[in-house]
């Protein structure tokens, strides 16, 4: 009974789908159907489900910023006025205008995770739109997804190239690049840096999500998967490096700009306090003059001294932000200082959208493929309805992240929904393919399908190195969780205009535990289930057709 399985129109579509998915999140190369035998599939689907619930919120934010980029001046470049128009809004003065726009205007964040607040209709609308766009792309299966991924894979590269040219010509970009390429030796000696790097590659390629399994299952069996595996991994890594060059040149520009405005503020303060000639104090003679003033007018200097900030370029470069903060705060801060900032802003958020939607296509494919493949469900509902239902459920759950405390829940999902469980899933998959199914059988399958023998490199990697690496990563994470004690999160304090650390309440900890447990427990549970079922079947004398 042959199934009429849809296929990619040409291999290039598959490669682009993988690239589009991997550039953002990624996956490791697997062979279709095998891992689903041992419950790894269900676990993958569960993790993909969690992922698609919260990941599309990022797309919603990208839409929000994209729509707001069509204004002059950009709304995150100026602070709004306060109620009686004598100055700027207090919260905006304390923080910067970009942080204010992110925390107050976009998220309208509450002071802690306990204050849930109300549903924000603006992000909710953007989330709805994001899910509609995803639905549009997956509506027709690989036929439409195949065409969309050309776009979602290639456009980010075009925008990155444009940004590379613009970024390298910015004032202060070289500071950022120097910072990127000078290794900090004491950091390299810290094992945590290496573990973070390994984790990044691991998740960048997106192991265990099942998405590349899903994509690959639409391939012809004679597809040269080895070549594609190497291509996708190489492209993923070189894209990361390429994107880092762009990011660090923008970083350097922002740090230099902030450093220079900090210096200018100090210069203005000193010029006004001591009535020095305008333009006399410059960055080069600042230290000299400060020393001179301290010695000549000690009384007055001591009054001014607490107000003088210590400006340091290193400190600006060290303020490393990651995740959603990097995308939405640091980049917008850099963009608002460029000329024709609306154009750069539109380009940037469009690229972010493409990346996000490409990854979302992978995620939803991971959920939908098992659903449409399973005979029970696809008998009753057409493919469009299944996709629509999945999108609807995800959208409804995703509305949680548009509450005032939604960003805190987002961080919970981001940090815990995927990490531990994925490591476990991939470990199980590797072990299953190599040891349970047998590496020799796998090798002969590959040879039969692709006509090429498996080189010894792959065998060593799959059978030995990878499981060891993953086990060590797992152990590290577990020990890290145990050692740090209670989990904490960063909450936004409106009065101070900065983030403060708080402890998670009990129910949040329970949700975290549930997240991790539900995906990791799938594997042993389904394995146990199949084992029990088979035992019952063997013991049952009645013939089973």
């Amino acid at each position: 009974m042959e199934k009429a399985r849809p296929l990619w129109a040409n291999p290039l579509q598959f490669v682009f789908a993988c690239i589009s998915y991997a550039v953002g999140l990624g996956n490791v190369w697997r062979f279709p159907y095998l891992c689903q035998m041992y419950g790894g599939g269900v676990a993958s689907v569960v993790v993909s489900f969690f992922l698609s619930m919260y990941y599309n919120v990022i797309n919603a934010w990208a839409f929000w910023y994209l729509f707001h980029s069509f204004q002059d001046p950009l709304p995150w470049s100026v602070c709004p006025l306060n109620a009686n128009r004598t100055g700027f809004d207090a919260e905006c003065e304390q923080a910067s205008s970009t942080k204010y726009f992110w925390y107050r205007k976009t998220l309208n964040i509450s002071p802690s995770i306990q204050d849930s607040g109300s549903l924000q209709w603006e992000p909710a609308l953007c989330l709805l739109l994001a899910w509609l766009v995803v639905y549009l792309c997956i509506l027709r299966g690989t036929e439409s997804t195949g065409k969309v991924v050309y776009f979602t894979a290639l456009l980010p590269y075009c925008v990155l190239i444009i940004y590379l040219i613009r970024g390298l010509t910015l004032h202060g970009a070289t500071n950022g690049l120097l910072y990127m390429f000078t290794p900090k030796l004491e950091q390299l000696a810290n094992p945590k840096a290496w573990i973070n790097a390994a984790t990044q590659i691991f998740f960048s390629l997106g192991l265990g999500f099942g998405s590349l399994i899903a994509f690959a299952s639409y391939n012809e069996p004679s597809n040269n998967c080895q070549k594609h595996a190497i291509i996708v991994s190489l492209i993923n890594s070189s894209t990361s490096i390429f994107a880092s060059v762009v990011t660090f040149s923008i970083y350097g520009f922002k740090a230099t700009f902030n450093y220079e405005s900090c210096l200018n503020k100090v210069i203005l303060l000193l010029t006004n306090s001591f009535d020095l000639e305008d333009g006399f104090l410059t960055a080069s003679n600042l230290e000299q003059v400060k020393g001179y003033l301290a010695s000549t007018y000690p009384g007055q200097y001591s009054k001014v001294f607490p107000l003088i900030k210590n400006c340091s370029l290193e400190a600006e470069l060290d303020t490393a932000v990651q995740g959603t903060g990097l995308a939405f705060i640091v980049y917008t801060e850099a963009i608002k200082n460029m000329e024709v900032s609306q154009l750069w802003s539109v380009l940037y958020f469009f690229m972010l959208l493409m990346l996000g939607i490409g990854s979302m296509l992978g995620n939803t494919a991971a959920i939908l493929t098992p659903l449409t493949d399973s005979k029970a469900i696809s008998r009753h509902l057409p493919k469009e309805a299944i996709s629509g239902l999945v999108c609807l459920i995800n959208c409804a759950v995703g509305l949680v992240f548009t509450l005032e405390a939604g960003n805190y829940w987002f961080d919970i999902f981001n940090d815990y929904a995927a990490t531990l469980s994925l490591l476990l899933i991939v470990l199980v998959e590797t072990v299953a393919v190599c040891y349970v199914y047998g590496l020799r059988r796998f090798e002969s399958d590959l040879q039969a399908m692709t006509g090429r023998t498996l080189s010894w490199y792959w065998k060593i990697m799959w059978a030995g190195v990878s499981p060891l690496l993953i086990i060590s990563l797992l152990l590290f994470y577990l020990s890290d969780y145990i050692l740090t004690g209670t989990l904490q999160y960063q909450a936004w304090d409106a009065s101070q205009g900065q983030l403060v650390t708080k402890d998670y309440p009990a129910y949040a900890l329970a949700v975290i535990g549930l997240l991790v447990a539900s995906s990791t427990m799938c594997i042993p549970l389904v394995a146990l289930g199949t084992f029990v079922l088979r035992r019952l079947r063997r013991g049952d004398p009645a013939p089973v057709a």
Binding site: R85, L139, S378, P382, D445, A448
Partner: protein, 251 residues
């Protein structure tokens, strides 16, 4: 270090010289108006932190860079003229003259204090009046010196911010609406075409074996008969993968 010391001592001397010069010019100005009282009264009126006195600070080089002009007595005259002009716009003060405006303590920064005196009553005009007059004419005063609110500062007078121009419909909603409508239209078109294809397929002879796969977008139709898109390489090993009997190691 020594160069800096020399420069600041020069500034100090310059400041002293300017103050002396200013004092002397005030003496000359004061005499025709109220010569019987003498110059000292007027000097007391204009001092740092005197009652009804305002401190003004200019940052000409910051604003204009290379095109910066030097601050000399002619510029001071223009300033006095602008102050008198502002006061003349206040009701009951239309007779303010340039000589009623007194400047003192001019520093190299450039910063100075000024007061506006009332010629008849021999006192300085109240700060509120001067403040409101300046606020009303702030733009004209700024433009006379090619400066703006940040580079020509009146230290006790806050600048008024322009009210934000909010369009009636926020721009982002317009863009959102456009994109939303396009997406909805595209989805409707795709869904409808899918339904139409399915109906056409159901009308034709259904020789497809698998009833569960309803996605017909890859079924090619030749001569009205749908073909199974076989995995065309024609190899049979695929079947062994599908069988469920084969398990490797019993647990």
């Amino acid at each position: 270090m020594s160069r800096v010391a020399k420069m600041s001592s020069c500034c100090y001397n310059e400041t002293k010289r300017q103050q002396h010069h200013a004092r002397r010019s005030k003496v000359k100005e004061a005499s025709p108006l109220n010569w019987e009282l003498g110059p000292d009264v007027y000097l007391q009126k204009c001092e740092s932190d005197a009652e009804n006195a305002f401190k003004v600070r200019l940052s000409i080089r910051t604003a204009l860079g290379d095109k910066a002009y030097a601050w000399d007595t002619n510029e001071e005259y223009l300033f006095k003229a602008m102050m008198a002009f502002s006061m003349r716009k206040v009701p009951n003060r239309e007779t303010t003259e340039i000589s009623h405006v007194l400047l003192c303590n001019v520093t190299r920064r450039v910063s100075f204090w000024f007061v506006v005196t009332d010629p008849t009553k021999n006192y300085t005009l109240p700060a509120d009046e001067i403040q409101s007059a300046i606020r009303m004419n702030r733009n004209r005063i700024n433009n006379a010196f090619s400066l703006n609110d940040q580079t020509l500062e009146f230290l006790k007078i806050p600048s008024t911010f322009a009210p934000p121009t909010d369009p009636s419909v926020p721009i982002w909603i317009i863009v959102f609406g456009v994109v939303f409508c396009i997406v909805i239209v595209a989805i409707t078109l795709l869904v409808l075409s899918g339904i139409r294809q399915r109906r056409r397929k159901n009308k034709g002879p259904s020789e497809v074996d698998d009833t569960e796969d309803k996605s017909e977008n890859t079924i090619t139709i030749e001569n009205g008969i749908p073909c199974d898109p076989l995995d065309t390489k024609g190899w049979h090993i695929n079947d062994t993968f599908m069988t469920e009997d084969e398990r490797l190691t019993p647990l």
